[in-house]
């Protein structure tokens, strides 16, 4: 191993960045910042992926879903899809996906879809209905067309663990079950955080040169502690996981995005999603029964056998969608935004909001570029090519604040 002493010294004088939130954004940002030589502490109030990222639909987007309505998003997706295949090859199901036409309207959409894929460099193949039914025997036999794209499936928990384990290997500190209770502010700067470690109850103060707010739908709550606002609308969605896996490939409806138009397989389940409704409190979401019923009936259109299989689980979580003009939750952009609160009068505080797990690495690159510029750190981003460490290492790396050992009898 290289010059450990010199590395440690460098780290000690490097700028200290605190990241709030260990979801996909926080985890990927921790990885990027540490690779560029900064000292990083991640603060997460629960387990890794406790919030939005954990209850994700697990779809590694090919971008096909957005190639007609939101080309910017589609291109981000396909680029990141290819990068993730390189940096976490053993953490993905790579069975591609199908966009299938169920109605004449869907069929008419196909041409625009293929055009969109071509414009966004998404490899898309129009395949025969017979072939589609042979490779996906539980697909609705009444489909009119099928297009194959490089969709994949990930697992959000291990996704985050892989980034965090790599960051920890490179010197980052990750503190879970630790909640930010307040931000330390001077007149024009956020200078640190007040935290409480819920495992011990102990309260502490941590200083930082910059704080990255990656708290997802709770980013607004955190930002309020510095008296700045983040224009996000916590928008919840329900997903239903079945008691068996009915498809190997991701199955999408060949049309503009709508509710319940994707069935994502994973392990031994098929997950139907999703819906959209604005929520007041992202900590306490009651799953509306009609949404669950709607998922089943929508899923049934793609896979008729859905009705014959019991439900294994249902989940709902708020997505941190950024408010732009337009009131329909689905119109709210799914691309991400960095808010440098210096322009709100509070320096040393950056919020990264919106986005999806597929593009987490790109979001992290963008926010890390901004952080490095603000802290005058000159380093290139290396996350496109750096193979991530094993996710299992996360639970083996030493945690400076582990609790005592007690038997529970």
């Amino acid at each position: 191993m290289g010059n450990v002493g010199a590395e440690k010294e460098k780290l000690e004088i490097a700028p200290h960045v605190i990241i709030i939130g260990a979801g996909s954004t926080g985890s990927a940002t921790a990885h990027d910042l540490t690779l560029r030589g900064l000292r990083v502490t991640v603060i997460e109030r629960g387990e890794v992926a406790f919030g939005t990222t954990g209850r994700n639909h697990c779809l590694l987007h090919s971008g096909g879903r957005y190639c007609v309505t939101d080309r910017e998003s589609a291109i981000e997706c396909i680029d990141e899809n290819m990068i993730l295949r390189k940096i976490m090859p053993d953490l993905l199901e790579l069975n591609d996906g199908l966009f299938v036409a169920l109605t004449e309207a869907d069929l008419a959409f196909k041409e625009r879809f293929l055009e969109g894929c071509a414009a966004c460099h998404i490899p898309a193949t129009d395949i025969s209905v017979d072939h589609a039914l042979a490779i996906e025997p539980f697909l609705n036999p009444k489909i009119l067309a099928a297009v194959r794209v490089p969709d994949g499936v990930f697992e959000p928990f291990r996704f985050c663990l892989a980034f965090l384990a790599t960051a920890r290997e490179n010197g980052a500190v990750v503190r879970t079950y630790t909640e930010v209770t307040d931000l330390l502010c001077s007149a024009k700067n956020v200078t640190g955080v007040k935290i409480q470690d819920h495992r011990t109850g102990k309260k502490e103060t941590l200083d930082a040169d910059l704080i990255v707010n990656a708290a997802g739908p709770w980013a607004g709550e955190i930002a309020a502690k510095a008296k700045v606002t983040v224009p996000e609308i916590p928008t919840a969605g329900v997903m239903v996981a079945l008691d068996c896996r009915l498809n190997n490939m991701v199955l999408n409806r060949l049309n503009k995005p709508s509710d319940g138009d994707i069935v994502v397989p994973q392990r031994a389940t098929s997950v139907i999603g999703t819906t959209s409704w604005v929520v007041e409190d992202p900590d306490l979401i009651t799953i509306p029964a009609e949404h669950v019923d709607r998922m089943i009936s929508q899923g049934e259109q793609l896979i008729p056998a859905v009705r014959k299989v019991p439900m294994r689980a249902k989940m709902a979580v708020a997505r941190p969608l950024i408010a732009k003009s337009g009131t329909d939750a689905r119109d709210v952009s799914r691309t991400f935004e960095c808010f440098d609160h210096e322009r709100d009068g509070m320096n040393g505080f950056v919020t990264i909001a919106g986005g999806k797990t597929t593009t987490a690495r790109a979001m992290a690159e963008k926010v890390t570029d901004i952080v490095c510029r603000k802290l005058d750190v000159r380093a290139e981003c290396r996350t496109r090519d750096t193979l991530l460490a094993s996710y299992r290492l996360f639970f083996q790396q030493s945690d400076p604040r582990n609790g005592s050992s007690v038997s529970s009898g």
Binding site: S405, V406, S407, G409
Partner: protein, 129 residues
């Protein structure tokens, strides 16, 4: 490797609590209890056999005690222990080599029924009924 959990003494006795555990765990607990019982019996037995060294009268007085209904009942319990431990032991030997693992519950039930029948017949004979 790191150790899991630290209080050894309380952990060692945990297998005794078989509430809400499934058949395999019950068989495990039964095997341990009968095993301990048989070891205790073995020492008792050796102790009793040592009476032989004290001559015919000592042995004869023990034998008349051993014919009492109380002792015969103890003999039946002993036989139950031997049957449970032996038959279940056969099941463990088989599954432990990878044979019949999928049917381990069925095998346990069948063997215990066989044991129960054998015990019943033996009890009748022991009590001369």
């Amino acid at each position: 490797m790191a150790t899991l959990d630290s209080r050894r003494v309380s952990r060692a006795g945990r297998w005794l609590d078989v509430r809400r555990r499934r058949l395999g765990m019950w068989a495990y607990a039964l095997n341990r209890i009968t095993g301990i019982g048989l070891v205790v019996y073995l020492y008792l037995h050796l102790g009793i056999l040592s009476l032989l060294t004290r001559g015919q009268s000592a042995w004869d007085s023990f034998v008349s005690l051993a014919r009492s209904p109380f002792y015969l009942a103890l003999d039946v319990i002993l036989l139950a222990g031997i049957l449970i431990h032996g038959l279940n032991g056969m099941r463990i030997a088989l599954t432990g080599c990878g044979i019949g693992v999928g049917a381990q519950k069925a095998i346990f039930i069948v063997l215990m029924i066989v044991g129960a029948i054998a015990l019943g017949v033996a009890a009748l004979k022991i009590f001369h009924i």
